[in-house]
């Protein structure tokens, strides 16, 4: 994607607003006091959702994500929002999409097995361009795996888990504070780009507690979907428009539009025409590729003069950062590149890293899901400078293991 294609997201958005000080919001502010408190990753997700205006949650209990549901079960009704425990994850994602079409900011939270069950619904939300957020607190797999242990095995599933070809937006925090921030961002992006945004968490992070001070609500930027202003008979909720977002009406507002998971035309009606199918697919793709700059966030730590880079995401990035700090103390020019957005993959930043450093170490809690993307970007495969550290036994990669690898390759 070239920069000339990039449109400034700020020029296309006209509905960003600071949260107004409603009673509900003040209640939350008082509740948490906005002072430094000990908070769990899952709690931070729940409070982030509330601060972003989430007013609908449908979910099904599953370790290690259950705390998110438990907190929202207590908090949403106080704020006029809906919490429902559905009969399964299939129903959960569908209720979330239904509520979103009725105008809700809707979210669900799950873990591996439930995430697998939600994949069909996630594809529906992407096809029907319906805003919603799925939080996947990853645990060890495959299958039921180890429910209370940590793995990063859903990185590729979050991208390719649903059938068919559709682009994804997936965010990946590495701290409790960032879990709060990226939950808000996930909801904002889902509203802005009218799609299902996925927030990946690691089990350790979901259950981990850290000192966190939530920002004052007046500093929380909340984005809500754009509503149509045209008369109903002019309204095309899937109009091909280079300028995102396309307004989305809610059921019950007089627009009486049709939504389907079938390939559809600009009015949402099913189509078999190749040109209309091509238009729809192009629109789904472009809304991601034209807005890469708005979507991709990366952290670059000690990278300016680094000769060895560690590329890591989520909880593993904390091991990596500790290793980089230790290496620097020993005079080794190491750095860390950490994607906060893993999909779309930060191709440009990774290409730059590959140009700038001699060696890239990729630690991850799976058998090669992140490194695969970097391999894709390595031009000359014979001269691979990629080193992997992979662990799938439920334990985190200790910083010492990464440090040792840094010392081996220098």
């Amino acid at each position: 994607m070239s920069n000339s294609e990039t449109i400034n997201p700020n020029t296309t958005m006209n509905n960003e607003s600071k949260t107004s000080s409603t009673t509900k919001v003040e209640e939350l502010q008082n509740l948490k006091g906005r002072k430094t408190v000990l908070m769990q990753g899952n709690e931070a997700v729940a409070y982030g959702a509330l601060d972003a205006g989430c007013n609908f949650f449908a979910g099904y209990p599953i370790t290690p994500s259950t705390e998110i549901a438990e907190i929202l079960a207590a908090e949403l009704p106080k704020r006029g929002g809906v919490f429902i425990q559905m009969e399964d994850e299939l129903g959960s994602i569908c209720a979330v999409i239904g509520a979103s079409l009725a105008g809700a900011k809707a979210l669900t939270a799950t873990s591996g097995p439930g995430f697998s069950l939600m994949q069909e619904g996630i594809g529906f939300a992407r096809s029907a361009e319906t805003p919603c957020v799925v939080v996947d607190v990853q645990r060890v797999g495959p299958s039921t795996g180890m429910p209370t242990s940590c793995a990063q095995g859903d990185i590729q599933q979050s991208r390719w888990g649903t059938h068919g070809d559709s682009p994804a937006i997936v965010l990946y925090p590495d701290s409790v504070k960032e879990s709060y921030e990226l939950t808000i961002r996930a909801i904002n992006l889902s509203e802005k780009y009218r799609t299902c945004v996925i927030l990946l968490l690691d089990e350790v992070l979901g259950h981990m507690r850290e000192a966190v001070r939530l920002p004052d609500l007046s500093n929380v930027r909340v984005i809500s979907r754009v509503k149509p202003t045209v008369p109903p008979h002019w309204y095309k909720h899937y109009e091909n428009n280079e300028k995102y977002p396309i307004p989305l009406a809610s059921f019950g507002e007089g627009y009486r539009f049709h939504v389907t998971g079938l390939t559809h035309d600009s009015l949402g009606f099913p189509t078999n025409k190749p040109n209309e199918a091509a238009e729809m697919m192009a629109r789904l793709k472009k809304k991601i590729t034209y807005n890469i700059r708005d979507l991709v966030q990366i952290e670059s730590f000690q990278m300016d003069d680094a000769k060895i880079a560690v590329f890591a995401a989520g909880i593993t990035a904390r091991s990596a950062k500790a290793a980089v700090v230790m290496a620097r103390k020993e005079g080794i020019p190491a750095g860390l590149l950490r994607p906060l957005t893993i999909w779309p993959f930060p191709d440009d930043a990774v290409r730059k890293m590959l140009r700038d450093v001699d060696i890239v170490i990729v630690p991850e809690l799976n058998q090669g899901q992140l490194i695969r993307e970097i391999e894709r970007l390595v031009k000359d495969r014979s001269d691979s400078k990629l080193i992997k550290i992979q662990r799938v036994d439920s334990k985190l990669i200790p910083p010492q293991d990464i440090l040792q690898k840094i010392k081996e390759v220098i």
């Binding site: 209640e27 008082n30 509740l31 007013n55 609908f56 449908a58 207590a74 009704p77 106080k78 006029g80 809906v82 429902i84 559905m86 009969e87 399964d88 299939l90 129903g91 959960s92 569908c94 209720a95 979330v96 999409i97 239904g98 509520a99 979103s100 079409l101 009725a102 105008g103 809700a104 809707a106 069909e120 619904g121 529906f124 008979h233 809610s250 059921f251 019950g252 507002e253 007089g254 627009y255 009486r256 539009f257 049709h258 939504v259 389907t260 998971g261 079938l262 009015l267 009606f269 099913p270």
Partner: protein, 280 residues
């Protein structure tokens, strides 16, 4: 002068939708759609407040043709989508159109739990005893020993009585009729929409092109005649000798009661939570 029925239907169909519809000649789905539209037209409802939700299958193609808020979803999940719509905007009238496979096989779990919650949805299940859209596979309501492409030696499974299932799960309005009985269908749809709770209407439908052909039922007229001759109203059951009831489709409102509706209960829960204030 009362409106001509055809004109009423025309008023409620989408004019920007590319017809013709997907249904075969002789299919009952259009007849049931007619009954639904006439029921709604007779109720003075604002069509902006009506949401029609469906899953996957022949009958589930219905929403695209009608001028309401319409949502054509995933196979089996219509009731779950509808639950989300209804809970966020309880004032909307949410009607689910589904088939026997969609509702009782892949979507069975959502059916029983929505019935248990007694959420105010109107579920209209068009039962043609087969998977029509995929070409004639056996469904949970395919009768014992009937033929389907995936039951080429006859169906060894018993069929599901979906009305009994819904009653057992806690539905507060359960009715059965056939596509032949258009006025009865229309009345039931009206009653079900007005009913404050979970309502299920099973409409026995004819699928002459797939089910009829596989089971030598003749064409559409023969199948319509069978619906007429092989069904009896619930009110007549007690007056008839058992042998005349045996094997017949029982039509009528099979169950109706009132118990707390889910959205209303949720509204009460919200009041309770808000009264308790900041702490858990």
């Amino acid at each position: 002068m009362p409106a001509i029925p055809q004109k009423i239907i025309h008023e409620y169909l989408r004019h920007d939708k590319k017809f013709p519809h997907v249904w075969c000649a002789g299919c009952s789905n259009g007849i049931v759609l007619g009954s639904i539209i006439r029921a709604i037209a007779g109720m003075n409802l604002d069509r902006n407040d009506i949401v029609m939700v469906s899953g996957i299958g022949c009958s589930s193609r219905m929403p695209v043709y009608v001028d309401f808020n319409t949502l054509h979803t995933l196979h089996g999940r219509a009731i779950a989508f509808a639950t989300g719509v209804k809970l966020h905007k309880p004032h909307l009238k949410v009607i689910v159109v589904t088939g026997d496979g969609d509702c009782a096989a892949i979507g069975g779990n959502h059916l029983i739990h929505a019935a248990r919650r007694n959420i105010d949805l109107t579920v209209i299940m068009l039962n043609n005893n087969i998977y029509g859209m995929t070409g004639g596979q056996v469904s949970p309501t395919t009768p014992h020993e009937a033929y389907a492409t995936t039951a080429p030696y006859g169906n060894i499974e018993p069929d599901f009585d979906v009305c009994k299932l819904a009653m057992g799960a806690g539905a507060t309005y359960v009715a059965r009729t056939t596509a032949f009985h258009t006025q009865e269908t229309q009345n039931m749809v009206k009653e079900a929409i007005e009913h404050p709770g979970f309502a299920l209407i099973e409409v026995i439908c004819a699928c002459p092109v797939i089910y009829g052909r596989l089971n030598k039922k003749g064409g559409a007229p023969e199948m319509m005649k069978e619906m007429r001759d092989n069904s009896i109203p619930l009110a007549a059951v007690d007056k008839l000798p058992p042998e005349k009831v045996q094997g017949k489709i029982i039509r009528g409102v099979l169950h109706k009661d009132i118990r707390p509706e889910y959205c209303a209960q949720y509204a009460e829960l919200m009041k309770k939570a808000q009264a308790q204030g900041g702490s858990k």
